[in-house]
């Protein structure tokens, strides 16, 4: 096994530290100067993105960036960024930058904005730390550092159901993290170390190792929204402000899946899982998650709740890709991390614009808003089609790889599950697009009160009847970028994230 050579730099620690300090600075600055704080947050997100990307030269030849801080806490912290960690942390930083940029305008005039920005940046540090953790203990620490401030984002509206949703989120997250804590201690007890990157920490199938894997599964399942443990997700996401729920859906639930990836492939190893029959359990759970998530999504008429259930469905696909345990499935899986993150955050940002501009949440009232919000709905359509898996877009690439993986793993039936997932996605996304663009029946009364009319597309320029009430440029730019990246990577000859995904898969499968 070719041992990845390690580059001991302090880069990962720096990347994690900047948002933390930034959050405190932002809160303190925000008490006096609003705009300075806004741009400070954007700057911090940008800085972490740049630093993440700057690690590319180390990563290219399959190297690993390592930092050890033995002093802190009982077991000391360590960071270890390999290809997978690099891809996901860059993705996180990028989407965080876009979301922060988007919320500059979205949060204008809202209450508790100072708190929102501080905790948003703090959660960024948690997410980055989780993806770059070098051992299970650091993973657990930053997992908590991401989950708890996120509760403050969920509770932002301070309405009754916001508080209820946040409390449910908190209790399930804490319950989950306690299971993780138990497995962490048990792993330390069984193998004497919790470091990632060394293959097969636990290989002997004892009752305790069984309990440990169950603990990992439950804790990371709660975060990833696996079906029996997903109850908090459909309540928390609609309640949070749109950029926050974009990040919640786009990035944070991915940490759960990332954790499963590390645990399955590095702490336990494939033959252990196959020997003890865990892979069949995982496969069934992911299929149930796909079907259940997508099916319920169809019945939801609140746009954000529908998107939340769609996230559960997509997470099912990711878990499925992981459990197939073949290299191509893993490539598709890692790429699907990327595709789903981009598409899902774009969808939530669009939902935010729709809510902000038209005040509508219920899908049945979306007749004709395509004309009112042409650019937004265009982005919405592109992202939706990505998740459905239409060929020219990212979604198709990952679904294609996943299906090939299913065949490689000798379980073609699961390719059918992916097909079913695509069809169900279509079943709940396309109606929205259709009503938005082609339903001319209603659309006579004026749009929501107090909405600033700044028409970009003049009336009659390309045959639109009504002047659009499109969002401001600040909100549109991130959405357009995300929508484009859904398409650009799939069309471009050397699909950069896909190549990284292949490298990551090869590294994991060794």
């Amino acid at each position: 096994m070719q041992q990845a050579f390690e580059f001991p730099t302090a880069m990962p620690a720096l990347i994690v530290l900047i948002p933390m300090v930034g959050a405190v600075l932002a809160y303190w600055v925000g008490l006096r100067w609003e705009s300075v704080r806004n741009w400070l947050c954007v700057l911090v997100a940008g800085a972490s993105l740049v630093l993440c990307l700057s690690m590319y030269p180390f990563i290219r030849e399959g190297g690993v960036v390592v930092t050890r801080l033995p002093v802190l806490l009982p077991l000391g912290l360590s960071f270890r960024v390999d290809v997978l960690g690099y891809l996901l942390s860059s993705l996180t930083a990028a989407i965080w930058l876009l979301a922060t940029f988007y919320s500059l305008d979205y949060m204008k005039g809202e209450h508790g904005v100072n708190r929102y920005y501080a905790f948003l940046t703090l959660t960024l540090s948690g997410a980055l730390g989780t993806f770059m953790a070098g051992d299970l203990f650091t993973f657990f620490l930053f997992f908590e550092l991401m989950s708890l401030p996120a509760a403050v984002l969920v509770i932002h509206e301070e309405t009754r159901e916001a508080v209820q949703a946040a409390l449910k989120y908190l209790f399930m997250t804490i319950g989950g993290s306690l299971f993780f804590f138990f497995s962490l201690v048990a792993t330390y007890q069984l193998s004497g170390s919790v470091a990632l990157g060394t293959k097969g920490l636990i290989t002997v199938a004892t009752p305790l190792s069984f309990l440990t894997f169950a603990g990992f599964l439950i804790s990371l399942g709660v975060k990833a929204g696996m079906v029996p443990l997903h109850m908090w997700l459909p309540d928390a996401h609609p309640v949070a402000p749109s950029p926050a729920s974009a990040l919640l859906s786009g990035i944070m639930i991915k940490t759960g899946a990332y954790g499963m990836l590390r645990v399955m492939y590095e702490v336990y190893g494939l033959e252990f899982l196959q020997r003890t029959g865990w892979n069949s359990v995982l496969l069934t759970l992911s299929v149930i998650t796909i079907l259940m998530g997508s099916a319920v999504a169809i019945t939801q008429f609140d746009l954000k709740r529908r998107l939340a259930y769609s996230s559960i469905g997509q997470m099912g696909c990711i878990l499925l890709g992981m459990s197939l345990m073949s290299e191509r499935a893993l490539t598709g899986d890692v790429f699907h991390f990327f595709a789903d993150a981009v598409a899902k955050s774009c969808l939530f940002l669009c939902a935010g614009v729709i809510l902000k501009r038209t005040g509508k949440r219920d899908i049945r009232q979306f007749a004709g808003i395509g004309h009112l919000l042409p650019v937004t709905m265009a982005c919405f359509t592109v992202s939706a089609l990505t998740l459905v898996g239409i060929p020219p877009l990212n979604g198709f690439v990952s679904k294609w790889q996943l299906s090939l993986g299913a065949f490689d793993a000798g379980m073609p039936a699961y390719a059918l599950a992916l097909l079913a997932s695509s069809m169900l996605n279509a079943a709940y996304y396309l109606p929205i697009v259709l009503t938005a663009f082609f339903d001319r029946s209603v659309q006579k009364e004026a749009p929501a009160v107090g909405v600033a009319l700044n028409p970009i597309v003049k009336k009659g320029a390309i045959g639109w009847q009504l002047g659009s009430i499109e969002a401001s440029a600040i909100m549109l730019v991130p959405m357009v970028l995300l929508a484009l990246s859904c398409a650009v990577f799939a069309l471009s000859p050397q699909n950069w994230p896909l190549r990284l995904a292949e490298m990551a898969a090869r590294l994991l499968m060794q």
Binding site: V71, L72, L73, P74, F140, L141, E144, L145, L148, V152, I155, E158, A162, V163, A166, L167, L170, F171, I174, G175, L178, F179, F181, F182, V185, A186, Y188, Q189, P207, L208, L211
Partner: protein, 491 residues
């Protein structure tokens, strides 16, 4: 002068306490108490410096050799506990300066300071004692003083709680004294080391006697430290007492009984006959009961201080669980949890005290929106709540880590499940208060003026930051307690 520190640790608070009725009448009592506690803290910390290297300070009161005279012994554990207890004491005394005159009638305020110092003397007496009867006498001192600072509030519920506490503590004293009589009858010694030498032979000659003695002593000290079935006095006592008193009661007084038991079980009851007795098993069963019932009862409470009191029953359960497992990691976890919980629970009670001092309301429902005009106190309460649940950055996490690892070393994953379940339960009754505090809407407009007098806010902030510091750099107490646990179990 350093040679005399072990005895001065007890005598200084005593001298301070005796001086308060003489000079402390017109409000000077608080300053005298502060000075005395500060000096005691200094003495404890210097002793910690000396004993950190593993050396044990032996002190013969009256220059009489051990079996005849009384010997005091301070090891790293004793010094560490004394230092942290004195530290918490200093914070609570500073806090009480502004809180007590409001809560008590002026005639008995100077007695409060005297009783506070007597309680500290009793605690230090038990921590440093190496003689069984001396341990009993100082246990009585701190029990009566603890009861005194509850009943001083002169309201119906305080008096009733104090009487119930005193009567149960008298029963415990009876059990302990009968235990001492039985052990003296068969061994003829009172000094712990000589007792340990005589006990194996006595256990062979009079096995039932030793069984009864161990049972009586364990029951007595368990009753004093509110182990589960014997905890009935704790919720009333800790919730009806003045806030600084409940901070001390929940933080320190409950722990001293456990410290005495740990000292007994690791120095005296170590022979093979006693190892056969199922006492640790009973302790674990009671501890599990305490953990579960404490958490369940705490969830149903509407009064904030009663909720904190029931949470103490759970935390005492943790400590007994760690102690009952009798393996090195679990014992380290238990000892560390004694210190962590002392810091945490006293800080939480002081926060509750400040809330009540400001708004006059005690019910959890009235805590809504409190953070809007008391942000600092509420953030300290949040740190405390996070530590109680065991979130990584706080000190609660470190002791929970060792306790869970200890249960796995002991081969009992089920107990680990109990600890984690109760952590979840404690999040279920702590976090609604925190969430309501930060994001709720206050019913009545907040009173004018700053968050609270600085002498009340700063001790809370100091203890909260100490909890965080111990959470991130726990190596000082951890290394010391690791060696202590090894030596205690090594024998």
């Amino acid at each position: 002068m350093l040679k005399h520190l072990p005895v001065l640790l007890t005598v200084m608070p005593l001298a301070g306490a005796f001086l308060v009725p003489v000079f402390g009448r017109s409000g000077r009592g608080h300053r005298m108490a502060l000075v005395t506690v500060a000096v005691t803290l200094l003495a404890a910390v210097t002793m910690l410096g000396i004993t950190a290297g593993g050396e044990v300070l032996r002190y013969r009161v009256g220059d009489w050799p051990p079996p005849w005279g009384i010997e005091l012994r301070v090891d790293a554990l004793g010094a560490l506990l004394a230092s942290f207890f004195a530290l918490v004491y200093l914070a609570v005394t500073i806090f009480a300066g502004r809180d007590i005159p409001g809560e008590l009638n002026p005639a008995s305020v100077h007695w409060y300071w005297s009783l506070l110092l007597l309680l500290l003397a009793g605690i230090n007496g038990v921590v440093t004692a190496h003689d069984l009867f001396n341990l009993f006498v100082f246990t009585e001192v701190f029990s009566l003083a603890a009861c005194g600072i509850i009943s001083i509030r002169d309201r119906l519920d305080s008096l009733e709680a104090a009487i119930k506490y005193l009567i149960l503590s008298a029963v415990a004293a009876g059990c302990i004294l009968l235990g001492i009589a039985l052990v003296y009858m068969v061994t003829g010694h009172l000094n712990l080391s000589y007792l340990a030498a005589e006990l194996p032979m006595a256990a062979r000659l009079y096995p039932k006697n030793v069984l009864a003695m161990v049972a009586l002593l364990t029951t007595g000290f368990a009753l004093k430290s509110a182990l589960f079935p014997l905890h009935v006095w704790l919720p009333d006592a800790h919730s009806s007492a003045p806030s600084p008193s409940s901070a001390l009661l929940s933080g320190l007084v409950v722990k001293v009984g456990i410290v005495a038991l740990i000292r007994l079980f690791t120095t005296v009851f170590t022979g093979p006959v006693i190892a056969a007795l199922p006492v640790p098993v009973f302790m674990i069963v009671m501890a599990v009961g305490g953990i579960i019932f404490g958490a369940l009862f705490a969830m149903t409470q509407r009064d904030l201080k009663r909720m904190l009191a029931y949470s103490t029953v759970t935390q005492v359960g943790y400590i007994y669980l760690g102690f009952g497992l009798l393996n090195e990691t679990a014992l380290t976890g238990a000892l560390l949890h004694i210190i962590n919980h002392a810091l945490l629970k006293s800080m939480l009670f002081m926060c509750a005290g400040l809330f009540i001092h400001r708004t006059g309301k005690r019910r959890i429902a009235d805590m809504a929106g409190l953070a809007r005009h008391m942000p600092l106190t509420m953030s300290c309460f949040t740190i405390g709540a996070m530590a109680m649940v065991g979130i990584p950055v706080t000190n609660g996490f470190v002791s929970k880590w060792h306790l869970v690892l200890g249960t796995l070393h002991g081969g009992q994953p089920l107990l680990a499940g109990v600890i984690l379940l109760s952590s979840l339960l404690s999040s279920i009754y702590y976090f609604p208060v925190v969430v309501a505090g930060w994001f709720g809407h206050p019913a009545s407009p907040p009173p004018p003026g700053p968050e609270g007098p600085p002498s009340m806010v700063w001790p809370i902030v100091a203890l909260a930051s100490l909890c965080l510091i111990l959470g991130v750099w726990p190596h000082l107490p951890l290394r010391l307690l690791g060696d202590v646990a090894r030596t205690l179990l090594g024998r």
